[in-house]
């Protein structure tokens, strides 16, 4: 056995010291608490969006979000940490979303998945994210089920949900035309049916006012026959829940056949550039709709400070992006909200703290939300945006009217 000499002790001492120093140092830095994917210089954030496939027009949300984080990084990052935003293509197919999200969580080791897009895609990862306790923050879909803090405490929605919009239309119709006969046009899928349910729930015992329920498929060439049918059956209220292409067709057809009902247009199809212009402004006059975002194609915002800020961002960081596309406004707001939560986390950048901060939004306003609309959350309320404002089209632009309305669902 080797004898311990003074010399060997002296030789060992610096080594022993060197060993203890790194053991001590993390203790000193204990004010910082990091979850997976976070270092002093970086936060990894994951995302999925449809860059290919039938829903690829929504892919622009992922692109504008990526551009937003590039801007954040150019400005020095979030609390000194650069955001490494990893966005994968899921082509809007749920199995691909599961695969890509598992890759983000298990391989890329992201801290959270921010604004994954699409109702079926988010439904597919809903269970997984909550099992793994990874934040699925501010999902880019308006389905009603995301506000479930008890059952799914790691998932949070963002936009006003379709059902509450449906209820808002019901309230408006009951006030304007309490004895009207309602025809509704909706897309035969989740959001279309959410609108229908919201409208009927809002009408309550007067749900029988809805006399024509006409659906369309995204693959249909036109919706002309549905519109003609509604006129023939004597409907005098038209709730138009089409995506821009179909909403525009319906407006144009109604104009052609001289049908002048009380026309309520849902928020998914109320873009001036994508819907009203192709439909013809003369046909679109007096249509009412609801808004929570500033319509980028609406000239009334051209001197608005928030709108200018967004315009400057688009010019510099996403020059390819179409400024008339509402997706680029929605994506901007989503990224801004996620960045706000990350900033609020301070140096405790953990998954738990993200959900805690996200559930603690107090009157959070964004430049591209309508004036007065603010995001609010609490431990029991995980639906950040609930307010919308009605507007009437005067033949050239949307004129906001009335107070901000809060939907009753979720």
């Amino acid at each position: 056995m080797q004898k311990i000499t003074r010399r060997s002790l002296l030789a060992a001492a610096p080594g022993a010291l060197a060993l203890t120093v790194p053991m001590l140092s993390p203790r000193r830095a204990s004010a910082k608490d990091y979850g997976p994917g976070v270092t002093d210089t970086e936060i990894k954030v994951g995302n999925t969006a449809p860059y290919s496939g039938p829903a690829s027009s929504y892919g622009t949300l992922g692109k504008v979000e990526t551009a937003y984080y590039k801007m954040i990084n150019d400005k020095g990052g979030i609390n000194g940490r650069k955001v490494n935003y990893i966005s994968y293509d899921d082509s809007y197919t749920p199995p691909k979303t599961v695969e890509m999200v598992r890759k983000l969580v298990e391989e890329d080791n992201v801290l959270l998945v921010a604004s994954p897009l699409g109702t079926p895609c988010n439904s597919a990862i809903w269970h997984y994210m909550n099992q793994k306790k990874v934040p699925q923050l501010f999902v880019a879909t308006g389905a009603t089920k995301w506000n479930d803090p008890k059952g799914h405490p790691w998932t949070m929605g963002w936009q006003p949900n379709y059902q509450s919009e449906g209820r808002i239309y019901a309230t408006y119709i009951l006030k304007e035309k309490p004895t009207g006969k309602i025809g509704i046009l909706f897309q035969n899928d989740d959001f279309g049916k959410d609108y229908l349910k919201g409208l009927k729930d809002g009408l309550g015992d007067k749900a029988s006012m809805v006399q024509v329920e006409a659906s369309y498929e995204t693959t249909d060439p036109t919706v002309d026959s549905q519109v003609v049918d509604m006129k023939a059956k004597g409907m005098d209220v038209f709730v138009n829940c089409g995506i821009p292409k179909f909403a525009a067709q319906a407006i144009r057809k109604a104009g052609e056949i001289q049908w002048k009902p009380l026309h309520v247009l849902s928020s998914i199809g109320n873009s001036v550039a994508a819907t009203l212009k192709p439909a013809g402004f003369e046909n679109a006059k007096d249509i009412v709709s609801d808004f929570y975002l500033k319509d980028a194609t609406d000239p009334q915002w051209k001197d608005d400070a928030g709108f200018k800020e967004w315009g400057a961002f688009m010019d510099k960081y996403y020059p390819d992006g179409d400024k008339q596309d509402t997706g680029n406004v929605a994506g901007y707001c989503l990224a801004q909200a996620a960045a706000h939560v990350l900033t609020a986390c301070g140096d405790t950048v953990t998954r738990e703290n993200i959900m805690k901060q996200a559930a603690n939004l107090k009157d959070f306003a964004e430049p591209m939300l309508l004036p007065g609309i603010k995001a609010n959350t609490s431990a029991t309320d995980w639906a950040p945006l609930k307010q919308v404002q009605m507007a009437k089209f005067d033949g050239a632009r949307w004129q906001l009217f009335g107070p901000l309305i809060t939907g009753a669902v979720g």
Partner: protein, 346 residues
């Protein structure tokens, strides 16, 4: 297959197993393909000891797509009937498993044969009208099946059962308590066992009398009928078996993804399976697994090359593969082996 081989001797139930047991008359020989298969299975069984969960998940999906492609291959590659409708059978299998677990709390293992059975029945029935259709017309008819499937699942009257567009959540199978594996590893092994059994069965099927009858119909239907093969029966049965394979793959897919929704089973899935079939090798059983690799990984590779041009990159890769391996991966492998052996002999 327990189908009578000839219509004249309808009572002679010469099934697949019978054909295999008949083989020893010629003497069972250990062939190179047996050794290769055994080696592949051993390696596959060892992978979970070293691989991470996500890699296992990906490999599980590769096997599942491989199995679905095998189903299509039995129909298209061996029997010469086109189908663009296999996404419908895949979805039907997935929904059968999901609904049985959702509505009646059936153990997941029972859902696999059930999914296979349901798909066999539907496939067989669909095979009956398909008898009147050839080639492109059959492709169109099955295309209709694929387009109809997501809509049927969304249909209002069925919404209460199918969950409509919102889909259904499926619980991931828990590993049996006596095995020291986690759920990803268990699913991998479960899939591996199912795959080995079904590939073995398919391989025996195509080497049996029934298999030769199936291929004879593909090669020359008139000559086949003249030899006493009943083409209608064989074609419909092949349709059923093909749907069975794809349906079991769908059920396994539902376990792996833990979610079923109409948007998961669109025509695009059918096209992917067809691409996997051609890439793997038409009429090759092991090639199907290579097809599965292609279906899962190439879109990801394309996406990592360029997010904006993912579709174009995918197309370029597809063209390159077709040019380099015109007979699919299986043909390429055969060619390579032949070249190597010739080089050694010289």
């Amino acid at each position: 297959m327990t189908a009578p081989v000839t219509s004249t001797t309808g009572s002679a139930a010469t099934g697949n197993t019978a054909a295999v047991t008949a083989a020893p008359a010629r003497g069972w020989r250990l062939e190179r393909r047996h050794l290769v298969s055994a080696a592949v299975v051993v390696v596959a069984a060892l992978i979970p000891l070293v691989a991470r969960s996500f890699v296992l998940f990906e490999l599980t999906m590769v096997m599942i797509y491989g199995l679905a492609i095998l189903g299509l291959n039995l129909l298209t590659g061996f029997n010469g009937q086109f189908s663009l409708g296999h996404s419908a059978f895949y979805g039907l299998g997935a929904y059968t498993a999901a609904l049985m677990m959702h509505l009646w709390d059936v153990n997941y293992l029972w859902t696999l044969p059930a999914a296979g059975g349901v798909c066999f029945a539907v496939g067989f029935l669909f095979g009956l009208p398909a008898l009147r259709l050839q080639n492109l017309y059959l492709a169109l008819a099955t295309f209709a099946l694929a387009t109809a499937m997501p809509q049927i699942l969304k249909f209002h009257a069925l919404e209460g059962i199918t969950g409509g567009v919102q889909g259904l959540t499926v619980d991931q199978p828990d590993p049996p308590s006596f095995l020291p594996v986690d759920s990803d590893q268990w699913l991998y092994y479960l899939t591996l066992i199912v795959i080995v059994l079904m590939f073995w069965a398919a391989s025996n099927l195509v080497r049996s009398r029934s298999g030769r009858a199936i291929m004879a119909i593909r090669d020359n239907p008139i000559a086949a009928a003249a030899m006493g093969i009943n083409p209608s029966l064989y074609k419909t049965l092949t349709f059923g078996v093909s749907a069975l394979y794809t349906g079991v793959a769908g059920a396994l897919g539902a376990f792996a993804i833990q979610f079923v929704a109409p948007d998961s089973f669109t025509i695009f899935l059918s096209v992917s399976l067809l691409v996997g079939l051609v890439i793997g090798g038409v009429g090759s059983i092991p090639g199907c697994l290579f097809g599965g690799l292609f279906v899962l990984f190439v879109p990801n590779i394309a996406n990592s090359v360029s997010t904006g041009l993912a579709g174009a990159v995918y197309g370029i890769i597809l063209l390159l593969v077709i040019f380099l391996m015109p007979a699919g991966a299986a043909g390429f492998a055969r060619l390579a082996v032949a070249r190597l052996t010739r080089a050694r002999r010289q």
